[in-house]
Each structure stands twice: as structure tokens, then as C-alpha cells.
């Protein structure tokens, strides 16, 4: 690990051995991080890697359970982001945290408006605001409401405010997520200007090409630990993706265990499915086949699943089930077609926490039957019992609220819910996230068994070795587009990493 700063000086902001624990979970486990003046330092990691937790500690939103923060060599303790601002650490978030209803000038000077005879001197405030923004290349009417401007302009105003107030460290948390190409370029221009002024800039994004475009150095987190801190000049995209995803052991694993496994007829076929911000895709899933999706956070994995299940309406394209076209405009139609969907965030989108295990299991079947054909209680108990046994759901009794179950068991309850409708096609978005190791293996085994029983499955997963080991076929997504399909013997970690990283020609 090389730690020679571009400026060669001591870091402006340094985190040493940061530990953060949520309940039983170590979100950060001894992470070191250093931001140097005159340098853009990118922070990368998949969902759950600890990226946002680290940022919240650096800005004062969270307090670490271990380790220390040093600002220009001196230890600091931050109570809240406001105090962080006072110390010189400014943050700009993805969703602009300014006031949409106030003028640009007011947003820049709120809390320190110039006053005259005790009243706010609006003219002076507006003149100062215009002068300030001119240095960022913005010539706009500072008297207009902030919400009248594009997100890019709002971001630059947010940056100007953060730099004026703080001026040592600038944290950019996914600032480009909702910007178009030209806006990104404009933002980068501003950031380069600030870098030249000697600010230490921490840049969080999930766009790899932007990291290579803007950053001098990258720190990669994985599962709450630091994988590496390296100058970007010495890296290529493949290296970075490998570090973000790679469990080191998986990379000598050649091919999938399921490569060449027999599969049945085409069960579900999607043709030209797409919508705004999502390139159209074609995909056929066979009986007894698991198609997995690989790709980085933000590559459009979840969006594909939502499109398939009708959560987001497709703009064009068609769906065929067993060769017959079906209309899927909303989840109810998807359920009617025999689709099931276990969403990524099961606590929010999946379980009904206060309802019982039994009620959670029968709810999709009941919805499919319609409310006039109520399942009687005996049938409900029988159904719940059958699936609880089949999936080994461990609950003291089936009338307890499902929120009291462990994550793994909750996931199985959602699986049971869909199995109860005798599905043709199951969509699982990150089915193994946030559940412990034992349950993890069980879920993987369950998926495998469902496949053997002839179900067509579409599974999203960030775990690369899991993707490789248990798939018939893999589709790779990048920038909201299906960019590659790997089948049979082609399924290999290196091939996936290459496909995810893509070429480096796609800069903004």
C-alpha cells in the first residue's frame, strides 16, 4: 500500500482504525482512510461495504465505536455534521440538501447573511452571491428560487456553500447520480478548480469511469474492511472491479457447477423490454434454469427486476409465458401470470412485519384468488404448515408476527409466499443479503432445489462466487444495459469481471 500523497504532505483529514458496530453487525472493522490536500480521493465499494457509514463518520453524522479522526494531525471528535462543518469538513449529498423554496443567494448565506441596521442587507447578499458563483463559472440570477435551476446548478451552489463555510475537506457523496453527461463535465470542472485550490476532496460514486476521470487515488471497501488504497494511475477498471467484488478464493474456480446442466423449454421470454433510462433487453428463461445477473450497484439490476414484475411499467416490449403473450402492466398482472418477486429490501418491500407467518405466506395466493374466495382457516394453517416444513422455516408458531423472525427465516417466508401460488417464474433480488452465514447456505440450497424441481428463476446477487457457482447462465449489466451473456463453459469470474468493467471508452 503506497501512501505518498500527490502533494507529499501530511493528510488533511485522516481516519485511523475506524470501527462502527450496529447491533451484532460490524459495519466498519478497523478502516484507515486519509484525504490529502490538492487530491481527489475516490471511495468505492458495493452495497453494504461500509462506504456510507465511513462517510457519515468523517462528516460527523455518526460517531465511531473505535479508532480516531485527525484533522491536520490533531485528533477531533465530531458530535454532528454542523460541528464537522465548523472544523472545515463540508459535504454535498446526492439529493441536494439546500432549500428549494429560497433564493440562490439565501441558500449561500443562510445563517450568516450580511446585515445593515439589524436587518438583512439583501442587495449586498445578492452581490456577494453573484461574485462567489462567478468563481465557479456560474452566471445565474441569484434572486431566483433554487428549485428553478437544474440539479447540476444546485449541486454547484451546494459545493460553493460547503467550500465557503468549510474550506478544508469537501465530501461529494454520489453527486453525479442524477446528472446528465454535460452536467457531469461541468461539475468535474468545478471540482478540478477546487483541487487546484488545495482542498482535500473525497468522491463517492458508483460510476467507475468517473472515478478514473476525476480521482487521483482510490480506496476500496468490502464488507466493512479496507481492501486497498492505491493511486489510480497504477490501476485499470478490471483491477478495481476485482477488488470490489472479489472473494479471493473464487477466482481459480473454473466454470459453473451447473454449466451444461439440462434445462427444459422456454418458460418466460422478454422481448425488447425497456423504459426511459433503461436500455431494452431480450431474455428467455427456461424451465429448471437459474439466470443470474451480475453488475455493480447502480448498473440497473434491480430496475430489470422491477420491470419484469410490472412494478415499473415497461415502455414497449412484450412478455411471453409458455409461448403465449401476456400483458404485465402492474404487479397484480404479474402475479396472475404466475410471477413471484422477492425484493431487495425485504423489511420495506417484502414482509408485512406485524402480520403472522401464516398470513404472510398465504397473502399472495389469497390476492391471486381474489377476495371473494377467502381461504378458510384450516386451509391457511395447512398451507403455512406445508411450506414452513418444506423450506424449514423456524418459527415457534405460525401465528407470531413475522418481524420477530431472523432475516433468513423472513426470506424463506417470502419464498414460501410465492411458492404457494405455484409460480412459473421467480425473481429474487439479493435473496442472501443481510442474513447470517448458515441461513445463507440454506437459501442457496433452496434456490437450487427449486431449480431442480423445474422452476425458472431470475436471481440478482452481488456475491460473485455465488453467481458463478449456481447459475446456468449469467447476464452482465453495466450502465443500465445488458452488455453480456455468459453461458455454460464461459461462466468464469474473470470473464464476468471483464464484462462488468467493460472498456474504458465510456467516459462522460
Amino acid at each position: 500500500m503506497t501512501e505518498t500523497g500527490v502533494a507529499g504532505a501530511a493528510p488533511v483529514l485522516e481516519a485511523r482504525g475506524i470501527v462502527k458496530i450496529f447491533g451484532q453487525h460490524r459495519a466498519l472493522d478497523g478502516v484507515d482512510f486519509a484525504a490529502h490536500g490538492g487530491e481527489v480521493h475516490a471511495l468505492l465499494g458495493e452495497n453494504g461495504a461500509g462506504k456510507s457509514t465511513l462517510i457519515k463518520i468523517l462528516t460527523g453524522a455518526y460517531q465511531p465505536d473505535g479508532g480516531e479522526l485527525l484533522l491536520e494531525g490533531a485528533p477531533i471528535h465530531l458530535r454532528d455534521p454542523l460541528q464537522g462543518q465548523g472544523f472545515g469538513i463540508g459535504t454535498v449529498y446526492q439529493e441536494v440538501n439546500l432549500l428549494p423554496n429560497r433564493s440562490v443567494a439565501e441558500n449561500l448565506f443562510l445563517g450568516r447573511q450580511p446585515t445593515r441596521f439589524g436587518l438583512i442587507d439583501r442587495r449586498s447578499s445578492e452581490a456577494q452571491a453573484a461574485g462567489l458563483l462567478a468563481r465557479y463559472g456560474l452566471e445565474i440570477d441569484v434572486r431566483a428560487e433554487l428549485s428553478e435551476y437544474s440539479v447540476a446548478v444546485q449541486q454547484i451552489v451546494a459545493i460553493a456553500r460547503a467550500v465557503e463555510l468549510s474550506g478544508k475537506v469537501l465530501v461529494l457523496d454520489e453527486p453525479t447520480a442524477s446528472l446528465d453527461r454535460n452536467e457531469v463535465l461541468r461539475l468535474f470542472e468545478v471540482v478540478r478548480g477546487l483541487k487546484a485550490r488545495g482542498l482535500a476532496i473525497i468522491f463517492i460514486t458508483h460510476f467507475l469511469d468517473q472515478v478514473f476521470d476525476l480521482a487521483d487515488r482510490v480506496t476500496i471497501l468490502r464488507n466493512g474492511r479496507k481492501v486497498a488504497t492505491q493511486p489510480l494511475a497504477a490501476l485499470n477498471a478490471t483491477d478495481v472491479v476485482r477488488m470490489m467484488l472479489g472473494k479471493d478464493v473464487a477466482f481459480d474456480h473454473q466454470g459453473s457447477a451447473l454449466a451444461g446442466a439440462a434445462k427444459g423449454a422456454v418458460r418466460v421470454e422478454f422481448r425488447g423490454m425497456g423504459r426511459k433510462g433503461m436500455a431494452p433487453f431480450d431474455l428467455a428463461v427456461h424451465e429448471g434454469e437459474v439466470v443470474r445477473v451480475a453488475g455493480l450497484l447502480g448498473s440497473g439490476r434491480t430496475e430489470v427486476a422491477r420491470l419484469m414484475f410490472g412494478v415499473d411499467a415497461a415502455e414497449g416490449g412484450e412478455v411471453l409465458v409458455d409461448g403465449r403473450p401476456v400483458a404485465i402492466r402492474n404487479p397484480a398482472e404479474a402475479v396472475a401470470a404466475g410471477f413471484g418477486f422477492c425484493p431487495e429490501d425485504r423489511k420495506i418491500d417484502g414482509i408485512f412485519g406485524d402480520l403472522s407467518v401464516r398470513e404472510n405466506i398465504i397473502i399472495a395466493l389469497q390476492a391471486k384468488l381474489g377476495w371473494f374466495k377467502a381461504l378458510n382457516r384450516d386451509d391457511q394453517v395447512e398451507l403455512a404448515g406445508r411450506y414452513a416444513e418444506a423450506l424449514d422455516i423456524r418459527a415457534a408458531d405460525h401465528d407470531m408476527p413475522v418481524k420477530l423472525l431472523s432475516g433468513g427465516n423472513q426470506q424463506k417466508v417470502i419464498l414460501a409466499r410465492w411458492l404457494a401460488i405455484d409460480p412459473t417464474f421467480l425473481i429474487l433480488d439479493e435473496p442472501t443479503r443481510g442474513i447470517d452465514v448458515g441461513a445463507h447456505a440454506e437459501i442457496v440450497r433452496t434456490i437450487n432445489r427449486l431449480r431442480e424441481e423445474g422452476l425458472a428463476l431470475f436471481v440478482i446477487s452481488s456475491e460473485l462466487d455465488e453467481v458463478v457457482a449456481y447459475s446456468n447462465r449469467i447476464v452482465v449489466m453495466r450502465d443500465r444495459e445488458m452488455v453480456a451473456e455468459l453461458d455454460g463453459q464461459d461462466i468464469a469470474p474473470d470473464a464476468i469481471v471483464q464484462a462488468i468493467a467493460g472498456t474504458q471508452g465510456t467516459r462522460p
Partner: protein, 319 residues
């Protein structure tokens, strides 16, 4: 043009048109005499509506206003008639109590994280109940000071009278306009209404501002009670029933967004005057039931909420 100016302009335009229409049918309404009565008759509502404007701008609501006015009139009557205090001292005490009451509600809203609707609903019952406990019956106030105040006025050209209570209301509006638009407190109120999360991250003292807003609303409700007391020479626990709703209506008709963040104190003035205009017209007409005031106010309210939807839906964007 600033988007939030549009509802204000619409209100002003509607007021002028309505006045014109009223004058064509009742020419007598075009006189400073009517104008002076406008100000006097609506003074208590206007003052309370100013407090409500700040509350609504910050994204809250204050349902206790009418009850606090009622309570204040009873308290003042008790202090003057039963305890023989000078009215000015009674006013000071009543204003202190009302301000403190508002501040406590503000603190409850902020620290206990209870919606303002709930807290001020509780405040409404407390104040109304408290007033009845002080005295269930109306107490008439007979004091020389009251007579002096009631007889004092500035003669307007054309024979109209600008009374003391009318002047108090105008002064309150003038100060409130400066407070809302030219002080940091005012900026912080708008900031809270825009986004409390952002405001906190930008360093707005959320606790101090929230408490200040409800204390201000309490103070103005108290002042409104003082004016009501001067206006009617009595204290009664059922005074000003439902005035909080008239105040909310005036604020919204005046162009302030009910969800907070956008609006002007001056708009509230026009909102109050518009309600007054409808009332005066009905009195002049003589054949209409006074309930028509409510119907017209209801229709105006509905229209303005629709108008705001249109204006604030997807505003034009500059790049």
C-alpha cells in the same frame, strides 16, 4: 418572476375585482368610512392571522389561536374587574401568559416530536377549558381607560375613522413584514418550511426557531385577545370560537402554501381584507344570510388551493 408571487398577485387582483364589483352594486362601500370599519372589525382576526402566517410558513399549524384569544379576553376581564389592575398591566400579564403558552407548545412540538396539529389541538382544549374555569360567564369590562381608547381615532379624509385597534393591526403587519423578510429569524422560518432536514444541516437553530414561532403565534393571539377585549369591552370564554380556522383561511387565501415554505405576510393582510369585504357586502346587501360569508370563503379557499397546485406543480426550470 418569483413563483410564490403569483398567488399573491392573484389574491390582490381578486380583491380589487371583488371590491369593484361590490362598489358597482353598493356605491356606498367606496368610502374611507367603510375602509376604517374594515380595519377595526377585522383587527383581531388580522393580528391572529399574522402569527398563523409564520406558523404555516414553517410547515406547522396552530389550532389554539381562537382559544387563546378567548382565554386572554377572560383573563384580562378578571384582572381588571376582579383584581382591580390597570388595563395596561392586565394586558402585559395576558400577553406574557399567551407568549409562554405558545413557547411551551413549540417546545413540545420540537422536543417531543409531536406533530403541531396534535400539540396545538391539546393547547386549544386547555386554553378554552382554562377560560371557562376562570369564568363560565361573560364579564363586562367597565374602565375609564377602555373608554378613552375606544374613543380615540385618527380621522381619515372622507370621514373614515382609523381606530386604535386598526392602528395596532397595521403596526403588527408592518413589523411582521420586516420580521419575515428582513431578519435571520424570518429566513429560518422559511428554511424550516422548505426542508427541516436541510435547514438543520445548514445550521438553522431548529429548536430556538420552532419555539420562537409558536411563542410569536401565542403572543399575537394574546394581542388579538387584547384587541378583542377593547373591541367588545367584555371577557367571555366562548369568544373567538373558530377564529383559528378563519386565520388559516386568510393565510391560504393570501397566497401562503399550506405545506410551508412559500408565502408573504402582506398576502395574509389581503386575505383578511377579502374576508372582511365579503362580510361588509353582505351587511350592506341586507337580504343575504351571514352564512354566505362562510360559503364565499370556502369557495375562495378551494380555488386558491387549486391555484397553488398549478403554480407549484412543475415550475419552469432554468439551466
Amino acid at each position: 418572476m418569483n413563483r410564490s408571487l403569483r398567488p399573491l398577485l392573484a389574491t390582490t387582483l381578486i380583491f380589487l375585482l371583488a371590491y369593484l364589483l361590490a362598489v358597482t352594486q353598493q356605491p356606498a362601500m367606496l368610502s374611507t368610512r367603510v375602509l376604517g370599519n374594515f380595519l377595526t372589525d377585522n383587527a383581531f382576526l388580522g393580528i391572529a392571522a399574522v402569527g398563523m402566517t409564520f406558523v404555516i410558513l414553517s410547515g406547522g399549524i396552530d389550532l389554539s389561536v381562537g382559544a387563546v384569544i378567548g382565554f386572554t379576553t377572560v383573563l384580562i376581564a378578571v384582572l381588571i374587574m376582579w383584581l382591580d389592575l390597570h388595563p395596561l398591566l392586565a394586558f402585559a400579564i395576558a400577553l406574557g401568559v399567551a407568549t409562554g403558552f405558545g413557547a411551551v407548545m413549540g417546545a413540545a412540538i420540537h422536543y417531543l416530536r409531536v406533530p403541531s396539529f396534535i400539540v396545538t389541538l391539546a393547547g386549544m382544549f386547555l386554553a378554552r377549558g382554562g377560560a371557562s374555569v376562570l369564568s363560565p360567564d361573560s364579564i363586562g369590562i367597565d374602565h375609564a381607560f377602555y373608554k378613552v381608547i375606544q374613543k380615540s381615532y385618527v380621522l381619515l379624509p372622507g370621514g373614515g375613522r382609523l381606530t386604535v385597534v386598526g392602528m395596532i393591526m397595521l403596526a403588527v403587519f408592518a413589523v411582521a413584514i420586516l420580521l419575515a423578510h428582513r431578519t435571520r429569524f424570518g429566513s429560518n422560518v422559511y428554511a424550516l418550511g422548505g426542508s427541516e432536514t436541510s435547514a438543520a444541516l445548514m445550521g438553522v437553530p431548529v429548536a430556538r426557531t420552532t419555539i420562537g414561532i409558536y411563542a410569536l403565534s401565542g403572543f399575537l393571539a394574546g394581542l388579538s385577545g387584547v384587541v378583542f377585549s377593547l373591541y367588545t369591552s367584555a371577557g367571555y370564554s366562548l369568544n373567538a370560537l373558530g377564529v383559528e380556522l378563519d386565520a388559516i383561511a386568510a393565510v391560504v387565501i393570501g397566497g401562503t402554501l399550506l405545506t410551508g415554505g412559500y408565502g408573504f405576510v402582506a398576502g395574509t393582510f389581503i386575505g383578511v381584507m377579502l374576508q372582511g369585504l365579503v362580510q361588509t357586502y353582505i351587511v350592506f346587501d341586507g337580504t343575504l344570510s351571514s352564512w354566505w360569508t362562510k360559503i364565499v370563503v370556502g369557495a375562495l379557499l378551494f380555488m386558491f388551493i387549486l391555484l397553488q397546485r398549478l403554480v407549484f406543480r412543475a415550475g419552469p426550470r432554468r439551466t
